[in-house]
Subunit: 282 residues, 2 copies
């Protein structure tokens, strides 16, 4: 099954998250069954990212969004693992500071977009400004409703610089979220990740779903598509994300640059040195 | 004469710079005649900028463009002079570095846009990317021709954050430019400002004029208007720029914020302390 085609939000289409099965896992039986494919994807991604870095003609921006406990951190870790840290950057966007609030909402985002040769991963992103800010009425509708267009314009601008954008919405069911919170509570090493708001935010589940649906419908474009990743199974989430990244890197037709020095000449010099060394000393 | 109306480039209108008199000076006879008005403008601008800074509900971005020796530095100096340096920033954009070139053309601009309460002055700007880059074929037409739309989208974004944008194109005649180069040559303290390119760039005068005309036509919008400032007379240039800035600040209806403390209470406390001090010591 072509997971890119299966999971992409076709530009202009309607999105009903209720109809999405968060436990979907395509033709794969279980984690064990998917293991080999995943390992192959990871190896190929690493190879292509080195080419991307060397060629410096493309850039890749990966945006991760999802409700609390959907697996954004885990996905970051998984994607980073496949790549060379040189040329790969993760940036997490928290609540805006007062300096950031004094500017337009894309001001704090723009400096972290990748330059040619680089990969940036956004753990949360400019989409927070049409999600939490909308659900909690932090800004009025008049303001957030205009942001979809600004986001599309901004992403179009990045595209002019050969930045390819992949946006992953990690989708889990409310039951799965609760199960994950429970796991955190039971795990002393992860208890620190829990805040009261994790639970209070659950009351806004439906409003978040509406906001996600709007984001997916209004901002999935040919240049910067959204993918809905069924994420109840972490192994399938990782498989799907890596398959989509791999296909995208393959489509770039990356090529390492030609050497800028004359390799025959260097080889020749090298042989001369070796010969010199091997001469019997007088 | 309303200089704002007279000099603004009406959105959608055609611009023929040949028809503009670079020596125009409205109803003012000479520098002496304009002196008093200019001083009044400067004083009022200073007052309003302090309100802008205190209120933190608006921001002002002033963009200066013009051919070499048109007076960008002088205008910066003049505008800065009217303002409190706290909350006023000048940023000059030179040839892009290799890091800047690895990003989209607005990447290096965005971080310098003003936050609420601030004034930013751009000495050259993102418009260089449709001027020098176009005239010298640094990027192909396919690239620079798309930039006008990206610029308009970007400036619209800034507007959502209450950034008012004023763009001044300082226009001098080729004869005036030559006279100014000559003055620099004759002045040992300013000879360092001369480069060979000052003279070689003159060969591209007509191409620059076409590029300026396109920039003015395509990017003068209601949100972020361009003004063509006749700049052969430095005193008129300063007068016109300050009148337009003043009108813009006045239209913002700026108000200093209400005190957040109870002034009567503070006054009361103050009196108590004074009385205590005046009591004869035992």
């Amino acid at each position: 099954m072509n997971l890119y085609k299966k999971l992409v939000v076709e530009p202009g289409s309607k999105v009903k998250l209720k109809k999405v099965d968060a436990s979907f896992h395509a033709d794969y039986k279980d984690e064990e069954h998917a293991k080999e494919t995943l390992a192959k994807h990871v190896a190929k991604i690493g190879e292509l990212q080195r080419k991307l870095y060397g060629e410096k003609k493309h850039a890749l921006l990966i945006v991760l969004q999802g409700i609390d406990a959907a697996g954004k951190d885990g996905t970051c870790w998984h994607v980073m693992n496949a790549m060379n840290p040189q040329g790969t950057y993760v940036h997490g966007f928290k609540q805006p500071t007062s300096e950031e609030k004094a500017h337009d909402f894309l001001w704090r985002i723009h400096p972290h977009t990748p330059g040619l040769g680089d990969v940036s991963i956004f753990n949360r992103s400019h989409y927070e400004d049409v999600l939490v800010q909308r659900v909690h009425n932090i800004v009025p509708k008049k303001v957030w409703s205009q942001r979809y267009e600004h986001i599309n314009n901004f992403e179009k601008l990045l595209k002019t610089n050969n930045v390819t954008i992949l946006k992953f919405f990690l989708y889990i069911s409310p039951e799965e979220q609760l199960a994950r919170f429970k796991q955190r509570l039971d795990d002393p090493s992860r208890q620190w990740k829990i805040s009261e708001s994790d639970y209070t935010e659950r009351e806004y589940w439906d409003q978040y779903i509406s906001a996600y649906e709007d984001m997916l419908e209004k901002c999935s474009t040919k240049e910067a598509p959204w993918f809905v990743i069924p994420s109840n199974h972490k192994w399938f989430r990782n498989l799907a994300v890596s398959e989509i990244i791999l296909k995208t890197l393959e489509d770039m037709k990356l090529k390492l640059p030609e050497p800028t020095v004359d390799l025959t000449e260097i080889q020749h010099k090298y042989h001369e040195i070796i010969e010199d060394q091997n001469k019997p000393s007088k």
